[in-house]
Symmetry: C3
Subunit: 299 residues, 3 copies
């Protein structure tokens, strides 16, 4: 999430009523969670296990629950509950965003019972079928089709566990569907937590597919019905994913890969390869394993 | 399903025009199918294979298609088609329920195109996103979020097979979501057939998850996208279920268990264990099996 | 798709401004893609790999991108881009169909926010729950139930790949649900590309099930939650399919077969057999394989 105008870090420290160390002259441009962080951003961390990752990230400001040495040029905000403070900042800056009505191009077709959130843009010749739900901060380029009752931009499934209970990180990111994307019926494409979930030009998604928050999908990707792609996944161009495939959070699929039906992808997949199985491996290897098993039992 | 007022068993026998044996003085308090039956209830049975189970159940009255000795203190209703008679009783007593309009707390947010059935209660600070469907007999406590186009309380998938055809048992149960439950987009949580489907306090459910009729889920349970939990499942507290997991009808998952992605659970799982595979077994064992296979084929 | 009136093939050649060879006297009755083609139909083919299949099909007219010898009695339309020409014909003849308003039997119950397309028929005593979406060219016989937010008749997921991009074949087929069919919540049943997707009498489908275009399902078939059935699948009568099963395009399942949960069916299944696994095999064999593996690792 980017702010409307740059913010003086001292005014943010004042807002949170917290101690500030390191570079106190910085102007902050936005707020992001660790997977999407960029220079100018505030990020948060509240567990020593992840301190180093946050401190070495691209973030200019780290909201942290313990006083540690500040990396050169960076700012630390010391707060007892960084997660709560981060949610507080999201609510504060979201409330300051201009709440523009959805901007729907006159050549687009919007069927009955479509829900359009705030700051939504619908491009030329789009078709939004009946019952489609388009949440706040969704950008849809031209010639995109959204199937009936599909849900674009709902909140990320992203919780912090504390004393056995789960606390929701407030989603303030968005979804960006490039031109010629087609989404079937009853799909869900979650908004980024603080960044943007992207579907690349010309990609086609069948019915009942789930795409998690902040996932990045390239151009001309084909995803068959019933797939579940977790959050923060990166899928290249020209990838083909058959039905009911699952992917764990954060995996990277290189260009031209093929994932066979019902596979469960838990590791990165390299360019042009064919994968199969749960957990997924190179398809040839997996088919050999199945043949071995079949032959041994038939003996 | 509980009746508004206790019913004289002889008046019910008269309603069904059927023979009554055993205790004819009983006052009946409700009607339940075999998995949810309690003292005071009528239950039905129409296959000798299940006679004993029904006769020994907690039910006070057994609607049965053959004259058998009545257990001490219990009542038998002898009817040629107990399934039809049971559906008849459900329709009769449901029609006598007060049809109260949905009671929505003024602090709750109900977005457009939300459907609210009869005898629905929505608690403080709930959010029902656009297109959500809340069926009859649903109770939602405070601070619950229902995602867009999700369906809470639709009828159970529960049929009796007779001469190759399937006859629906009419659902008269409900759903009860405890406080701080969060349900994603495009989920289905079926109502109990005659009892209540429960989701415990603080449990979080991702998108496109299905929960079957009469299933009982504990507190702080996490269910990732694409899972399919059958009817009559019992899930304890602090259970974590990763994406696309399936569970067979009636399995019991003890507190603190973890089920890895795409597993298919067919047996009970004990406390704190990690399970994987289809059918699911202890994850360590399953990973060893996969390694064995991989090594044998690489040789 | 059948035309309203028979069409002179020379007028169609004129419409496409293309060369015609072979039988130029033929009257054309409709247009179909290769899986559903019947005598009187136009079919298209644009890859030499599939020329023979198209030329030997039941089609009376083949729209093709190269001049080849015309089979006896058949007509060839030679066009540089048969796929585009085929889409052009579909749009042309769909625009000539009478656009009748949905015909809903007075005994049917239609809840709020139901979308009804053109040329839809809803039979006696049907129940369409809130948010259900019924697309153009859907025929629903009597006593059918459609669950909340289910989508019947959305476009086929059917693309032609050209220079890495995917081009949609315009769907002009329909869906036909026979009497006593019951469809759960959040299901998708796609319309045929040019033909009809059928669900046979008395079949019952649980929540979150996907049925692809042109699939043919028999009578009294039971499909549990979360299944994904591809396009052009043929399922016989009295088949039972447990939860989260997937089926590849074009497989045939004979009468009385049972497919166990989470199986992935990639080959035809014969009458009365029980299948399991991904890819699915006879269940007994698959269970033996699992036992072999378990025993070898425990040693």
């Amino acid at each position: 999430m980017k702010f409307n105008t740059k913010q003086d870090i001292r005014s943010i420290a004042a807002l949170l009523d917290c101690k500030i160390t390191g570079n106190t002259e910085i102007l902050v441009t936005g707020i992001n969670e660790i997977h999407m962080v960029e220079p100018g951003d505030i990020v948060f961390v509240d567990h020593p296990k992840y301190y180093q990752k946050a401190l070495e990230s691209a973030a200019s400001v780290v909201l942290i629950n313990q006083e540690v040495p500040s990396p050169e040029g960076k700012t630390l905000l010391i707060h007892p509950t960084p997660f709560k403070a981060f949610n507080f900042l999201i609510e504060h800056f979201v409330s300051q965003l201009p709440n523009k009505e959805a901007k729907v191009h006159p050549t687009a077709t919007v069927y009955p019972n479509v829900f359009l959130g705030k700051n939504v843009t619908i491009g030329e010749h789009c078709i939004l079928h009946a019952g489609a739900y388009i949440a706040d901060e969704t950008t849809i380029e031209s010639h995109v089709i959204i199937g009936p009752n599909s849900v674009i931009g709902h909140d990320a499934f992203y919780y912090q566990k504390k004393d056995a209970a789960y606390n929701r990180l407030i989603s303030c990111g968005g979804v960006h569907l490039k031109k010629n994307v087609e989404i079937g019926a009853l799909c869900t494409i979650d908004r980024g937590v603080t960044g943007i979930t992207h579907i690349g030009e010309g990609s086609k998604i069948d019915n009942q597919v789930h795409i998690g928050h902040d996932t990045q999908i390239g151009t001309n990707v084909l995803i068959a019905a019933g797939c579940g792609i977790s959050g923060c996944v990166e899928i290249g161009n020209d990838v083909t994913i058959w039905g009911q495939v699952g992917m764990a959070s954060g995996v990277k699929i290189a260009d031209g890969a093929t994932i066979l039906g019902q596979s469960g992808v838990t590791k990165n997949i390299s360019e042009g390869t064919e994968y199969f199985g749960t957990p997924a491996g190179p398809a040839k290897q997996k088919f050999k394993e199945l043949a071995f098993l079949r032959n041994h039992v038939n003996l």
